[in-house]
Amino acid sequence: MSLDAANSPVENRVVAGLDQDAKIAQSPLAVRGLTVSYGEKPAVFSVDMTVEPGQMTAIIGPNGAGKSTLLKAALGIVAPISGRVTIFGRPLAEQRARIAYVPQRASVDWDFPTRVIDVVLMGLYRELGLLGWIKGNHRARALDCLSRVGMADFATRQIGQLSGGQQQRVFLARALAQGADLYLLDEPFAGVDAATEKAIISVLKSLRAAGKTVVVVHHDLATVAEYFDNVFLINTRRVAEGPVAEAFSEESLQVAYGGRLAATQIDQLARA
């Protein structure tokens, strides 16, 4: 963001407009001018985001910076005050089948009377439609997704009987069952054990290897460089966006986190 862009507004706008349209059309998830507000204080203000296809992107920022809100608005779960969202260049409503979403664990009632396999089968909803019967091959696919996250042995357990990490893996298996092109995960590593974190990241990497796009709301700065290709730093506004090597810099972390991180810590992280 520089002041030079304002030097010749008219021409610049035409060129930038064309360039942007091309980028938007290619991007699995493009957000323009998105503002979401709970009450009078915007949680996300005028944010632009362009996710790179076939890569893993982390959305990072301090608590309350609007990370989850950005994701929920992109998915149409919360209504924005302004802005537009496109998925592979098309409106969200036309592209639902290409998105899989893994919500935060705390967002559901784990006492719900349902088994692990039933939760994974929920991922097949769009395929089955209202009245389709669940057949053997659907069940086999659900089991396959469960074994990819290492949870096949738990298929008939009630979901409330699992540990937090196991619940998170079941959510991921449900997303896998959707067979989407774009995977959006909200804090999948929050409060899970090391084994789960490893299992999830290896599944995500295999998705990337298969050409899928993965976007993760992430809170652990120490693992950003290890796990992700790109970062999107947000604190109400977009702070930085791009490959980890460029955007995950000391300067942008300072802007995003303010005084909340000691300068030395940021230095270490940025170099890690």
Partner: protein, 309 residues
């Protein structure tokens, strides 16, 4: 007991009771899981102003205008609750409390103000119905079930309640998967393109239709009990939604049959002479079922701490 006595006097009220109980228990399962159990309570209270307004508009006591009035009142109540909750940023329980008490008060006031002394319309009837009076006098025994002449004089409540039950079953079967997903994880359901708001409204309207039809036959107190108790009891028995639905139907049928029998014959066994309110007894029995399930049900504890651990 012989068919000659049972079929005309007990078969139809019992069947109507069973159909009403099941029609309410089915949507009750979802209301319970969505933490909307008390919507049933609210709906059953606002039925009264609905039928009073319908009576004042049409000037007669007949089934269809009253059903429409009651259903309309239920929809108005649900919309008002939602509007007050959102506009006033008030928790749903309090919003419900404001709406249903006000509408009920309006119903009572209208009833007092209008001249309904000539017709059978009063608050007591609205509360506990009159299941015992829905008898089938043209029946002479089991054979009457095949006799078209006698079938023509079946109490109209029976086919109406049966039809309602079929409608409720259809709604739940049709939207089964969407209901299940959106009840478990609403955010995820929306990303799948499920219109969760519409679906929620559909569920409440279905519940309202069941409540209104049941109310006409058995009064509103049974309706509240059947929305909650069978589903709550079933919740203690299983950890699978499919099985929970089955159990809830079982509990509902049991409560309806046992409650009816106890109300009709219990006092006689105790040396009394007259039957007591069947609707009240059915509600009481359903409470007994819940007590047993809450004490001994295999899945009575919250998940994560299985019973007996």
């Amino acid at each position: 007991m012989s068919g000659e006595e049972f079929v005309p006097l007990s078969l139809t009220p019992m069947l109507i009771g069973v159909f009403a109980a099941v029609a309410c228990a089915l949507p009750g399962n979802f209301l319970l899981l969505r933490r909307q159990a008390l919507i049933g309570d609210a709906i059953s209270h606002v039925v009264l102003p609905g039928i009073v307004v319908a009576f004042l508009l049409t000037g007669m006591i007949s089934a269809w205008p009253m059903m429409l009035g009651a259903a309309g009142a239920a929809v108005v109540a649900v919309v008002l609750i939602e509007a007050i909750r959102r506009l006033g940023r008030i928790e749903p329980g309090a919003a419900m409390g404001v709406v249903f008490t006000t509408m009920f008060a309006l119903g009572v006031l209208l009833l007092e103000q209008s001249d309904t002394s000539a017709v059978h319309l009063d608050v007591e009837h609205a509360l506990y119905g009159n299941l015992e009076s829905l008898i089938w006098l043209d029946a002479t025994g089991w054979g009457s079930l095949l006799d078209p002449q006698a079938l023509r004089y079946l109490p109209i409540e029976l086919p109406r309640m049966a039809l309602t039950l079929v409608g409720v079953c259809l709604f739940i079967a049709l939207f089964w998967r969407a209901l299940k997903i959106s009840t478990f994880d609403e955010g995820f359901a929306r990303t799948m393109g499920i219109r969760t708001n519409l679906l929620g409204l559909g569920l409440v309207i279905t519940a309202a239709v069941a409540a209104v039809a049941a109310f006409d036959a058995v009064g509103s107190i049974i309706v509240i009990a059947m929305f909650i108790c069978p589903a709550a009891s079933a919740r203690m028995m299983t950890n699978r939604l499919e099985a929970q639905i089955g159990w809830s139907v079982g509990f509902a049928v049991l409560a309806a049959v046992l409650g009816y029998v106890l109300a009709g014959y219990g006092p006689l066994w105790l040396g009394g002479q007259d039957a007591v309110s069947a609707a009240g007894m059915i509600a009481t029995v359903s409470g007994g079922g819940l007590a047993v399930a809450a004490k001994c049900g295999p899945c009575r504890s919250r998940a994560g701490a299985p019973a007996g651990v």
